[in-house]
């Protein structure tokens, strides 16, 4: 992943997180605000209901008191206070009086609790309402909730009781309003809100007891658990319910327990508030937040793309410059300006490459001089040996001509033989140098490296076990199915040959020569190891330098030729060595050498004169 991509993704993620956090924060804050608003709304409605409830209660108290104060009721009380009073004449009175006073429930009850007349259950005359005869100051009690037995079953009533006392006898007037859908209908509710009433008249939850202004609530059983909670713990509670999977059907409820005189739960009022508008509003806010997030992301990404491009452009140029330097273009320069850190870095980079170029030129110059010197020394050394016999032979010839003419022919014959031998020797020396200078261009073809290795080993088989020489054991670990590569088999053979020769030279006391091949990612790896005396780190560093040798009679060109061959095939060569343990050469050859300009086979020092002997520099390695 590029630096720009990393930077881009960092910016993007940071942007995404920031925008997401802000959007989520806005949504949460909005949601809380809506919840709070809704809660206040519902509480206001609950308060309104409580106020309405109290007002209704007062109204019921006044109406019942009005009945008690009416002349007819007083006359009834007076009549009933007489001995053997006939109560039957009043059996239907409750019906008419309740209608005129708009009460759903009305009972005239004698002092012993016997019903004289009942509106809600006319046929119940004569039966007792014992709760009325219990000691109670009804006038101070005001209104209260009560479960009322009616002809159609129990009902919930907002009741009040008044008494008319004549002598020592009381006439009780118990009246009230039914709490049901009519009561709910009379409540003024804002749009989107509704009131449900659960009449807790049965031991278990009954869906039919849950009514709204239009009658039994559809799917009322879904509120059973909330009603059960209220029955267990009667207090104001709030909850939400979704009637369908659609969030728009969500409804928030505030439950208000309705308790009787003994604090027994008689009903539950549920103020429902449709969350449709809230959900819609939240959805709009969420959509808006998402749109803002999307737009923020879009523009943020564009900005990030542009910003990262702007920020990383000098870095990319620096990277390209560094790559160019790594590829050998030491004079690469970076065109970055500015006073910022990258600009300073670019200036430093340019200064560094300038210095590198200068130092490289100086180094090359120095190395060239050193190489020339080395070449001169080598040449001088190599040429000096044959030159001395030549000189002495020529001097012998001159001396024999002057001092012993009779022996001159014999001396001449011997001397010319020596001269020819030494000249041949000189030609060989020159040939070796020429051979290195005239490394041929590789002629690529399909090559199986295993076969080349086997060919080289076969070539040296006789020498590995030669008489009078400590044996060398070759070990071949050649991978089966090694892919063929495009290479020059002859040059490859020469390179391996040189490495094998070096290994043999490194093991004068015998040892193990291990050749191993393998392939990885299409490349072929070749390892040639010996168990010789090994090399020092300093020797390893200079090992591939032309004309550098650790041998007495080496030319220092063998490993240089190997490196040249490997390099011409686009491969790499490295060496690992440990003193006293051995040395391993690792060669990695690609399946197909990259196209590149014709390699320069001559090192910086001038190439020696062409040799007539095309023999490779076998055994002239390190």
């Amino acid at each position: 992943m590029t630096f720009r991509s990393k930077l881009f993704w960092i910016f993007t993620i940071a942007l995404l997180v920031s925008v997401g956090v802000i959007a989520a924060g806005v949504t949460v804050v909005a949601r809380r605000a809506f919840d709070e608003l809704n809660r206040q709304h519902s509480e206001a409605l609950v308060s309104q209901f409580e106020g309405e409830f109290q007002r209704r209660g007062q109204d019921v108290v006044h109406r019942v008191q009005g009945i008690a104060d009416a002349e007819g009721t007083v006359r009834m009380a007076i009549e009933l206070s007489r001995p053997k009073a006939d109560v039957s004449v009043y059996v239907n009175d409750a019906r008419g009086v309740s209608q005129s006073h708009q009460l759903d429930f009305l009972d005239f009850v004698a002092t012993d609790g016997a019903i004289i007349s009942s509106n809600e259950w006319p046929a119940r005359f004569g039966y007792k309402m014992d709760w009325l005869t219990q000691p109670q100051d009804w006038s101070s009690l005001g209104s209260f909730l009560m479960k009322v037995d009616t002809q159609d079953g129990p009902a919930l009533g907002l009741m009040a009781v008044s008494t008319v006392r004549v002598g020592d006898r009381d006439l009780f007037i118990a009246g009230g309003e039914r709490l049901g859908k009519e009561f709910l209908n009379s409540l003024v509710l804002p749009d989107g809100m509704r009131a449900l009433l659960y009449l807790d008249l049965d031991p278990d939850f009954q869906p039919t007891n849950l009514v709204d202004a239009s009658g039994p609530v559809v799917d009322g059983e879904r509120l059973a658990s909330f009603i059960a909670r209220e029955r267990q713990d009667p207090r104001k509670q709030a909850f939400e319910i979704s009637w369908t999977p659609n969030p728009l059907s969500t409804e928030a409820f505030h439950a208000l327990p309705l308790q009787g005189r003994q604090k027994e739960l008689l009903g539950v009022l549920l103020i429902g508030s449709s969350q449709q508008e809230v959900v819609k509003l939240e959805s709009r806010i969420r959509d808006l937040a998402l749109a803002v997030v999307a737009m923020g992301l879009f523009f943020g990404l564009l900005l990030s793309w542009w910003g990262t491009a702007r920020v990383t452009r000098p870095v990319r140029k620096l990277a390209e410059g560094a790559r160019a330097v790594s590829e050998g273009n030491w004079g690469a320069r970076v065109d970055v300006h500015g006073r910022h850190e990258i600009g300073q870095l670019a200036t430093a980079f340019n200064r560094m490459t300038t210095q590198l170029t200068q130092q490289r030129e100086q180094l090359v110059q120095a190395e060239r001089v050193a190489a020339w010197r080395e070449l001169a020394r080598r040449l001088a050394h190599e040429l000096k040996n044959p030159l001395f016999p030549l000189q002495t032979t020529v001097e012998n010839l001159q001396r024999a001509r002057e001092q012993s003419p009779e022996q001159f022919d014999e001396v001449f014959r011997e001397s010319t033989g020596i001269l020819l031998s030494e000249i041949e020797n000189l030609k060989k020396i020159v040939g070796r140098f020429s051979d290195f200078a005239k490394m041929p261009q590789p002629e690529l073809g399909p090559v199986n490296v295993n076969n080349v290795v086997r060919g080289v080993v076969k070539l040296f088989e006789a020498q590995f076990g030669a008489v009078g020489r400590p044996p060398i054991t070759p070990e071949l670990h050649l991978e089966d199915g090694l892919p063929t590569i495009q290479a020059d088999a002859t040059l490859l053979h020469r390179a391996i040959e040189n490495l094998v020769l070096n290994a043999m030279d490194a093991m004068p006391a015998g040892g193990v020569l291990m050749l191993r091949t393998a392939h990885q990612n299409g490349d072929v790896e070749l390892e040639i190891s010996d168990t010789g005396s090994g090399l020092t780190p300093e020797e390893c560093e200079r090992l591939f330098t032309p004309y550098y040798t650790t041998k007495q009679h080496g030319t220092g060109l063998g490993l240089a030729i190997v490196q040249s061959v490997v390099s011409d095939h686009g491969g790499r060569i490295s060496v690992e060595s440990e003193t006293g343990v051995g040395t391993s050469f690792h060669i990695r050859l690609p399946s197909r050498p990259p196209l590149r300009p014709a390699p320069s086979h001559s090192p910086d020092p001038p190439a020696p004169a062409p040799s007539e002997n095309p023999e490779p520099a076998a055994g002239e390695g390190a």
């Binding site: 039957s88 004449v89 059996v91 046929a123 119940r124 005359f125």
Partner: protein, 384 residues
């Protein structure tokens, strides 16, 4: 002293003259139209047809008893036969019928010239019209009699002759359970029904015949026994319910049924009340129904036979008729047999109550099986 005596004699003479004039005004007077209001709605006076509704049938019988006309098959007047007290002079189906006095009736012409019978008048309106002087005669529901009298209406009450009873219908599981029937019969507080619902116009009924009829009514218990009812009901397996029906237009029947439900509930008996809009509906939606039966005759045997004829098919009773010369013991035993089966649970006896306008004179409540004696009624002339 003489002067005083003369003054005293003069005062006495004037008083006697006034009294004589008043006596003269109480003498029967011919003329006038007797305005009658009834609740029933008649669409035909065809002698061959009988309305299904008991009230309509009763009203038709009353009108029939007044007529001696020839009538068309549709019940309309076809001509004066010459022997009846009244004949139909106007007929408007379902609304009113005008009867005119027959001049040539044997035994003397009726005092009133005509009788205007308005049909379909609710009880409340009938009473208001009586109070307001818009009518002269109307049937008053027994439960309204006391209230009507309190409001100044002249009320005439007959002997108790309508029996209100609960009749268990045959073929229903719970109705065929003797324990259930007896439990319900014992749970009912008849006295409370009479006192409160009927406003003391009536008598608790334990038997099928009233006390005045054969004198054995006192042998039948009318007292409620809730513990016994509870015990009987507890012997029934499961938790059945009795459905007690009443005619949807019968307000009194509804009140009695509802009171019965209260008594039953007090005794632990499961009982639901249901209005019957169409009694002929099959299958029946009720196990028992509140039924009102009118005595066909004041004679015990005939009255019991009449009840038996009505109740036997309904309750699955023994339909065998009583002998023509059945003795009082046989009548009692048959009555006892019916009542002991608890298939018929007598509740109350009701009188027939009539409201009379102030100008109606010489009215006598008819005996059981008799019609309205309008031929004997005369109308006092209204003061100018």
């Amino acid at each position: 002293m003489k002067l005083r005596l003369c003054l005293f004699l003069a005062v006495i003479s004037i008083a006697l003259l006034h009294a004589g004039r008043g006596e003269t005004s109480r003498r029967p007077r011919y003329g006038g139209t007797l305005r009658v209001e009834i609740g029933a709605v008649l669409h035909s006076l065809d002698p061959a047809g009988a309305p299904a509704d008991p009230d309509e049938a009763a009203a038709k019988n009353e009108i029939d008893a007044l007529l001696y006309d020839q009538r068309n098959p549709d019940g309309t007047f076809a001509g004066v036969a010459g022997s009846g007290a009244f004949h139909i002079s106007e007929w408007e189906s379902g609304k009113h019928v005008m009867l005119a006095a027959n001049e040539n009736i044997r035994g003397g012409r009726a005092f009133v010239d005509s009788i205007d019978i308005q049909m379909g008048r609710p009880a409340k309106d009938r009473l208001l019209d009586l109070e307001g002087g818009k009518s002269d005669f109307a049937e008053v529901p027994p439960e309204e009699a006391r209230r009507a009298a309190d409001r100044g209406v002249r009320v005439s009450t007959s002997q108790p002759e309508d029996l209100v009873a609960i009749v268990f219908v045959g073929g229903r599981a719970i109705a065929d359970d003797a324990h259930a029937r007896e439990a319900l019969a014992r749970s009912i507080d008849r006295a409370a029904i009479v006192d409160f619902i009927l406003q003391k116009e009536g008598e608790p009924a334990g038997g099928l015949l009233p006390q005045w009829s054969n004198g054995t009514a006192f042998l039948f218990s009318t007292a409620a026994d809730a513990p016994a009812a509870k015990d009987l009901w507890s012997q029934i397996r499961g938790s059945p319910k009795i459905v007690l029906g009443y005619d949807s237009g019968d307000l009194l029947g509804q009140e009695i049924a509802e009171r019965t439900a209260v008594n039953a509930r007090d005794a632990g008996i499961g009982l639901d009340v249901a209005a019957i809009s169409n009694p002929s509906t099959s299958p029946l939606g009720y196990d028992a129904r509140v039924t009102r039966l009118r005595m066909a005759s004041s004679h015990p045997r005939e009255a019991l036979a009449g009840f038996q004829a009505v109740l036997a098919p309904m309750a699955g009773l023994d339909p065998s008729p009583l002998p023509a010369a059945a003795a009082a013991e046989q009548i009692y035993e048959r009555e006892r047999a019916i009542v002991s089966s608890y298939r018929v649970v007598p509740l109350v006896w009701l009188p027939r109550v009539y409201g009379l306008g102030p100008r109606v004179r010489d009215w006598k409540a008819p005996a059981a099986g008799e019609g309205w004696p309008f031929a004997d009624v005369w109308l006092e002339q209204e003061s100018q």
